[in-house]
Symmetry: C2
Subunit: 229 residues, 2 copies
DNA sequence: TAAATTTTTGCAGACACCGCATTTTTGCAT
DNA sequence: ATGCAAAAATGCGGTGTCTGCAAAAATTTA
């Protein structure tokens, strides 16, 4: 009866594995087709056919056609939140967030191949880029909750509460965690965009470090050494 | 022959005035219908009928149906940018941005009636809220350019022009203005959201001041003495 | 193997959206 | 005012998105 509870989590059942495979197939087919013909000219029918499922099934996996181009880093959010909680307790909230995000970005670097193709698709149709960032924003509230947890439970004892799956309880977060989550996410976005714009000249790690330094310094006016003329 | 005045700019031609009227009628009809029946259940046909135009005409004004629920603060962006340039030169970039945004928010407060109704619609269907923020984001690049102008960091040689006649050429802005524009916008968004969540208890001005103080201070960990202010 | 559960699929239909041709409105010069 | 050109509104037809429903297929459980 109650023996199977976490099929969704790992790859317990064969059923879940197939679902993951189908979803991945749809995403890959979509990205590949979009890279070739342009995202606007790729129909649900074409994606479904390339993935080997019916068009109707597509909508069992994605609420909207555009979502398939955007649902890439779906698990990043979870990993970042875990990273925030596991960061050394000596770090400030901003530093903890920075470290968690840096780790996740390094992780993403592994799948550089797929992300590169994906980025190309988004670049050709900014409409989708915007949509992707919106999805990212949905994670912001959860990140804020995690940050609140870290800030609230000070070091000394392990803040590892077993039942943190409260899920329902949304007690109007404090301003600070919300702000930190939103601003941190935004900073990373800017870093990525800036790096994408001039990939050749810049090392992403530098840009990443730079934006967080700026944040920590309170966004002061840039030094004068550049402002000649 | 081709003496093309700028009828588009102000209220010169009667033609433009009618266009504005039609657009406003569509927006108002849409918001009103959405407030009553829920945004999801309002078709283009219904909006068009309420506004007294044909359904086809609707798409002459808006690229997508959802846009009609979102195109409210279309001119805020321009006013904010002007505010940034006109701010006292003694202010830091962050302060200039803060002042410009505070002024615009005060301006918006005038049309409190419409915005309140509009906010209610967005609250009932977060899908649209997301879309609205996306529109907001499009302004971010322009805001970054304005900030760059104020700071005086124009890369790419001839700093003399500063004109927008390049049209296509967007010379890869510096990191700092981009970051400031994005983070500033994000901070305001968080402030608005936070205030909306607990409208009864909070004064918006306080929240607004608070987020910018946090930014200027580098987002330090919140101290234990909360009642300091 | 049979039953229960979940997923897939086809189908019908509402609606969003776009291109095109036609009609109406507006701006301007005569 | 009046005719002409530009621009907008409209109607129509078609493609594509997305949903609900019920049957069929696959998978798990008993």
């Amino acid at each position: 009866m109650q023996r199977v509870r976490e099929k969704d989590a790992a790859e317990g059942g064969l059923r879940e594995r197939k679902k993951r495979a189908t979803r991945a197939a749809l995403v890959e087919a979509a990205v590949r087709l979009a890279a070739e013909h342009g995202a606007e000219n790729v129909t649900v029918e074409a994606i479904s056919e390339a993935a080997g499922v019916s068009p109707r099934t597509f909508f069992n996996y994605f609420d909207a056609r555009d979502d398939v181009f955007v649902m890439i880093g779906a698990e990043s959010s979870t990993r970042i939140r875990r990273g925030v909680l596991e960061a050394p307790s000596g770090l400030s909230p901003l530093e903890a967030l920075r470290e968690a995000m840096a780790a996740e970005l390094a992780e993403v670097e592994q799948e550089h191949e797929l992300w590169s193709l994906h980025a190309e698709v988004l670049r050709s149709s900014p409409h989708l880029l915007v949509r992707g960032l919106c999805v990212h924003m949905a994670d912001e509230i959860e990140l804020a909750e995690t940050l609140a947890e870290r800030v609230g439970s000070r070091p000394g004892g392990r803040a590892e509460d077993s039942g943190e799956e409260d899920g329902q309880r949304r007690p109007a977060l404090d301003l600070y965690p919300r702000l930190l989550a939103a601003v941190g996410s935004t900073a990373v976005r800017v870093a990525v965009e800036h790096w994408c714009a001039r990939q050749d000249e810049l090392v992403f790690t530098d840009v990443f470090r730079e934006v967080f330094e700026q944040l920590a310094a309170g966004l002061p006016a840039p030094s004068e050494d550049v402002g000649r003329r």
